[in-house]
Symmetry: C2
Subunit: 252 residues, 2 copies
């Protein structure tokens, strides 16, 4: 309340994570709140279930002195050693250490950028044609949305999608790398909510296979209905926004 | 405190689930407390992460009038429809609806037994040679421990273990069945803690492949170190019991 002493008001002021998560948590498993993103960790697969970011034009702008080269991939020591991915796990795996919360979304602060290099925020991604190309294009597209919208909320995560085999049955199959068996997701998702004026929302939801797709891709081809991602991931997104508050979903 | 009015004391009395879970939760994802067992649900795989039971000689004894035939497999409507297994998913899948918390552990009450038939407590299990044989033998063995020990705590769950393929890499691979893509675990675990006198603990931890093993098995062959199950499942068991409080681990 407004009659609280100042120091107490500061203490109870909403943290950055309540801004980021204001439209609801997709799940509640092993939550970590970092300076500028929130993460849920999948201890079985040694990578995140999801990471959540809140982007604004200001925050994604380059700030002088903030350098990606200063950031180093590092173990997340808040994760129990049994379940923690290490740089060694990725070494000679053939996969990039791919960001879920993109480093380029956190250029306003070296500390915020460094925190995106925790291996809890990293998944094994195909390098050429995916991490460095198609997926990077999607990340740039999401960042670009901040030029048009006041608030951009983005939730990113891995998927392990089933495929039919010759026996006619469906199988989930994915590689695990390194001594700690870090899962290599078959796909990745991004669910993006854009707010132009207060309460005027749009949503876009993407799924991309963890494959060399190249750099000449049409992002629209990777739009999928939200419930496809929800069913596959076991998560529910932006539940605090009433469905009828969305002016556009996947551009329509 | 002891000076609270009686009706309030009843309200704050420890529930059955705090008895069951007194030695710690293996994880905190989507917890459900039923009358006589506690469950953590894996929304992505449409089956439990783990279920926890507390067995005593009294509780596992047959009570007149409690009949397994009265219990029906039923959807767990506390699970969101996107993530909920149905009987239809199992139909013609070739798999049994295998209990995690065994029905036979809850024969003191028809309601308690009925609750073990929620499909959240069920995983697809190979029927002949496993659910009806080897796994059933393990369940009976655990139940039998109540004759010797005052308290028996048992945590049961699925595993999805990686295997090497011809390319020299490790892959996790499992079938999913039905419209809701219910995962067929590659293995199941049971972690059992027995308390003879107060504070005198023993532990046994088992892993069995979800395969026809037959009925002539030696349970000792399925004992594994606890940390093997912990690393594979992403869970940590009985953390509230100091490691040095165990008089025996896996019989030694
Ligand atoms: Mg990247
Ligand atoms: Mg059974």
């Amino acid at each position: 309340g407004s009659n609280l002493p100042t120091e107490y008001k500061a203490e109870v002021a909403p943290s950055r994570s309540s801004d980021i998560m204001k439209h609801g948590f997709p799940g509640f498993d092993n939550i970590r709140s970092y300076g500028d993103y929130v993460l849920s960790y999948d201890q079985r697969n040694r990578t995140a279930h999801w990471v959540f970011e809140h982007l604004t034009r200001d925050k994604v702008s380059r700030r002088e002195g903030v350098k990606r080269e200063e950031s180093k991939f590092q173990e997340d020591t808040t994760i129990h050693a049994y379940f923690r991915a290490t740089n060694e796990d990725y070494h000679k795996s053939g996969y990039d250490r791919g960001h879920l919360a993109a480093a380029g979304n956190h250029r306003f602060s070296q500390k915020a950028m460094n925190e995106t290099f925790y291996l809890s925020n990293i998944s094994p991604q195909v390098g050429k044609g995916f991490n460095r190309d198609a997926w990077n294009l999607l990340e740039k597209f999401v960042r670009h949305l901040t030029k048009k919208y006041t608030n951009v909320y983005v939730c990113t995560g891995p998927l392990y999608l089933p495929r039919p085999e010759v026996d006619g049955k469906l199988y989930v199959k994915y590689e695990v790398i390194g001594k700690n068996h870090v899962a290599v997701p078959t796909h990745f998702f991004k669910v993006v909510v854009m707010e132009r004026d207060v309460g005027q929302y749009e949503m876009m939801s993407f799924v991309m296979p963890n494959q060399a797709l190249g750099e000449k891709i049409d992002l629209k081809q990777y739009l999928v209905p939200l419930d496809t991602i929800e069913r596959a991931s076991g998560l529910l997104f932006f539940q605090k926004i009433p469905k009828n508050a969305f002016k556009k979903i996947n551009g329509r």
